[in-house]
């Protein structure tokens, strides 16, 4: 039930942003649409709604995760641009396995997406039970678990642990 209420609020907020400036007709139509969406899809939205009530998690997300993420995204683009423009095409690709301590759906999703948008890495598959991510790496620096974790996982895992687990 909590998950449905949350879904309703978010769907309604997105509707309001999309139909800015809000007036009565838009708000009524939006409420109807958001109710339908929440009734049909609400139960799939969040399995742990109580996690959304901790203000510290939002604080970490906005002031710790987002700056790191945007910085890594910029670095990733310059990295790809360099490899693409370089006449010698300096790539040494391969698929490596990353072990992570994260287990929750949201945490793993965010880790996989963050890894995809950071320099030289792309998540290919996730094994949720064992917390393993298979990552395509454009320039493999080493295949043993420690190197992989240090180069790929260590930037985001501690932050996401704080936000989505514990």
């Amino acid at each position: 039930m909590k998950s449905r209420i949350l879904m309703f609020i978010i769907a309604f907020a997105v509707w309001c942003l999309l139909t800015w400036v809000p007036d009565t007709e838009h708000l009524i139509a939006g409420a109807v649409v958001a109710l339908i969406v929440a009734a049909v899809m609400g139960s799939m939205f969040s399995t742990r709604p109580h996690m959304m009530l901790h203000p510290m998690r939002y604080f970490y997300f906005i002031f710790w995760y987002l700056p790191v993420f945007i910085w890594e995204l910029l670095k990733a683009n310059i990295d790809v641009a360099y490899r693409v423009i370089h006449p010698g095409l300096p790539i040494k690709p391969g698929i490596v396995k990353l072990k992570t301590k994260l287990r929750s759906d949201t945490g793993l999703t965010f880790l996989a997406n963050s890894i995809t948008l950071t320099p030289g890495t792309l998540t290919v598959d996730v094994n949720q039970d064992d917390g393993e991510l298979y990552i395509h790496w454009i320039y493999v620096k080493g295949t043993d678990p420690d190197t992989v974790f240090r180069e790929i996982g260590s930037r985001f895992e501690p932050i996401l642990m704080k936000i989505f687990e514990e």
Binding site: V14, L17, L18, W20, V21, L73, L74, A76, N77, V80, A81, R83, V84, I85, L89, I91, K92, P93, G94, I95, V96, K97, A112, N113, T116, L117, G120, T121, L122, T123, V124, D125, Y134, H136, I138, V140, T143
Partner: protein, 113 residues
């Protein structure tokens, strides 16, 4: 002033989009191409949308807000799409480029099927 900053963002975004497309042509296999396509196109398009937001902020807030909502959905959706395409490609048996050094995914999957 804010118009100029917006234009700079749009120009940067276009540059990254172009580089992403160059990568799509130059890199050897499907996985490397996805790398270029996902990263450059995400940041490039987000940058164009943010520039649009800055330019229209005085005249029409409605357009700017839609651009911001589009950024959020783009950042959420494009890595998921890349993940789905690469996983599908690997499962369908698309080989890695011959210069690839390691494929631990294939090693782990051998026992499954």
């Amino acid at each position: 002033m804010i118009d100029t900053i917006g234009m700079v963002f749009i120009a940067l975004g276009l540059t990254f989009d172009v580089l992403g497309c160059v990568g799509l042509v130059r890199l050897p296999d499907v996985y490397n191409r996805l790398q270029a396509a996902t990263k450059c196109v995400t940041l490039g398009t987000c940058s164009i949308l943010f520039g649009t937001f800055l330019i229209t902020i005085d005249t029409s807030l409605a357009t700017g807000l839609k651009a911001l909502v589009a950024i959020v959905f783009l950042v959420l959706a494009s890595p998921v799409a890349a993940h789905a395409v690469s996983r599908g490609a690997h499962r369908a048996g698309v080989k890695l480029w011959e210069g690839s050094v390691v494929d631990q995914y294939a090693e782990d999957k051998e026992g499954e099927e």
